[in-house]
Amino acid sequence: MGRIGSPMNDYTFSEMMIVAAARALAGVRTVFVGVGLPNIACNLARRTVAPDLELIYESGVYGARPARLPLSIGDPTLISGATSVCSMADLFGLYLQGGRVEVAFLGGAQIDRFGNLNTTVIGDYAAPKVRLPGSGGACEIAINAQHVFIIMRLSRRSFVKQIDFVTSPGHLGGRGERSALEMHGNGPQLVVTDKCILHFDEVTREMTLSSLHPGVELAEVQAEAGWELKVAPALPETEPPTVEELRLLRQELDPQGVYTGRGAKE
């Protein structure tokens, strides 16, 4: 672990992504967590910008205090010391559909410009090129969570003009479509990638590039999106990770570098 205490310009794109996602949780009380990057981002947020953050897992856990890095959303470390553990009927019915989830993290194999996500199949449903895991709870999470934050690596394979299957509805075709269907949640609010951050336009609900991570060029980002990206008029640089954020990540949250070591910055 020779990297501990190194200057803050020495970090990976994955670490930048986790830190950016954690900062977006400032002031949030309840977050629906997935495994991997969202899990680390949420735990980092609880130690930094959102000390009152309660972690909710679809396995039936509210207020988890994991003592080790959970390797699945049903890891037993999420149960010991949690505020409450309930049936999945209660978790989905009372917590999620009951409107108690402020933010939920989702990801997927494909996303379109309105934040609709596919985790079901690549290709035709009946004869898929790749059969993906499917929804899990993602479909109802996308519909019912107050806000959805998406965390995905930027790549032309994932950011596509037309997704092959809508597993988790985002803003559908854009302006007004969610509310026309009387969805209770507000849908996707931002997309955190390893290269940039994107928000959804207040009116059109289209994904709009809102900041570039340090060292990333606009053209690079555009090249990885399957459509012509809308770009915010002011395009700031994402503030790089601080020494303290990196210390927490490397020493406490992912000491083995399972999630933070990938996609190393050149």
Binding site: S72, D75, A89, F92, G134, E140, M183
Partner: protein
């Protein structure tokens, strides 16, 4: 008390038949691999396997051709990746073709709830705006009779047999479960027959000392099987940890059809029962998975005489 304790062999022989709809539930925790392996040893065929997360347990059953259909909501090796045997069955029909019927998690929960409550359907705020209804005609929408809009509905699911794993039960089948509760209660009440598999059989007085922890009463249970470590490589809260190394290892084994069959020959068909599996797995495995201690505070129910 009605003593329902039987061997795993007899429980499966009595309650699981060719062509049945079988639900071995348990979300990440308490997945009864011991029962699955016995079903495989007894050569059951043409099963409709129901489970929110098919996990390794159904990947193994499907690898030997037990099933003709899978009803599910998340088709992955949790935290690892794909379920390769199921993909082979779906994509190539190896060893036999497999039909898929796909929901989301809340949809599956709702199906069990409707089954348990004897409701014609379960309404849920899901599926709207998604492509699910196009690929599964059992996911539909109805208008609220109270003029409050349209709502997604799923039909009841009443498996022929549910198999649930837990920490402990008495001989009649009243079952204490803690940690992740999954849909163990809902599937038990929905199923026509229920097999409860536990780490320990305890006296009725132990169950009665903590009735809030009784997730499933003996009332709905047909058979009780005592099978220590019966959920490995999944876990039982407070008894053993999840064998994450095996979940990673299975990813390598299951990519290759021959390696898969070799593993199954050794660990399913090559053992008499779960007891032999546990012995052969070796003490080092069980020491590695020992969870340490974190006790709850006792509570006072009061003695209202």
């Amino acid at each position: 008390m009605n003593d329902k304790v039987v061997s795993m062999h007899d429980a499966i022989a009595t309650f699981v038949h060719d062509g049945d709809a079988v639900a071995i539930e348990g979300f990440t925790a308490c997945i009864c691999f011991a029962a699955a392996h016995e079903i495989m040893r007894q050569g059951r065929r043409a099963l409709t396997l129901c489970r929110m997360t098919p996990d390794l347990v159904y990947d193994q059953m499907i690898a030997v051709g037990c099933a003709r259909k899978l009803v599910f909501s998340y088709l992955g090796n949790p935290g690892v990746g794909s379920l390769h045997c199921i993909r082979r069955a779906v994509e190539k029909g190896i060893p036999v073709p497999l039909e898929l019927e796909e929901y989301s998690h809340f949809g599956m929960v709702g199906r069990y709830l409707a089954g348990a409550y004897h409701l014609p359907f379960f309404p849920l705020r899901s599926y709207i705006g998604s492509d699910f209804p196009e690929v599964n005609s059992r996911i539909r929408f109805v208008e609220s009779p109270f003029g409050t809009g349209s709502i997604g509905v799923v039909p009841p699911l009443n498996p022929d047999v549910a198999i649930i794993h837990a920490q402990r039960a008495d001989r009649e089948g009243s079952t204490h479960l803690w940690g992740l509760l999954g849909v163990q209660k809902e599937v038990a009440f929905a199923a026509k027959h229920v097999i409860v598999v536990v780490e320990e059989i305890v006296d009725e007085s132990v169950i009665r000392s903590d009735p809030n922890r009784t997730v499933v009463p003996g009332l709905v249970v047909d058979a009780v099987v005592c099978e220590p470590c019966g959920a490995h490589p999944s876990y039982v809260q407070g008894y053993y940890d999840r064998d994450n190394l095996f979940y990673l290892e299975w990813d390598k084994i299951s990519r290759d059809e021959k390696k898969t069959q070799d593993w199954l020959k050794e660990w399913v068909y090559g053992v008499r029962d779960r007891g032999e599996y546990v012995e052969r797995m070796g003490i080092a495995t069980w020491e590695r998975l020992a969870p340490g201690e974190a006790w709850s505070e006792p509570i006072n129910y009061g003695a209202y005489r």
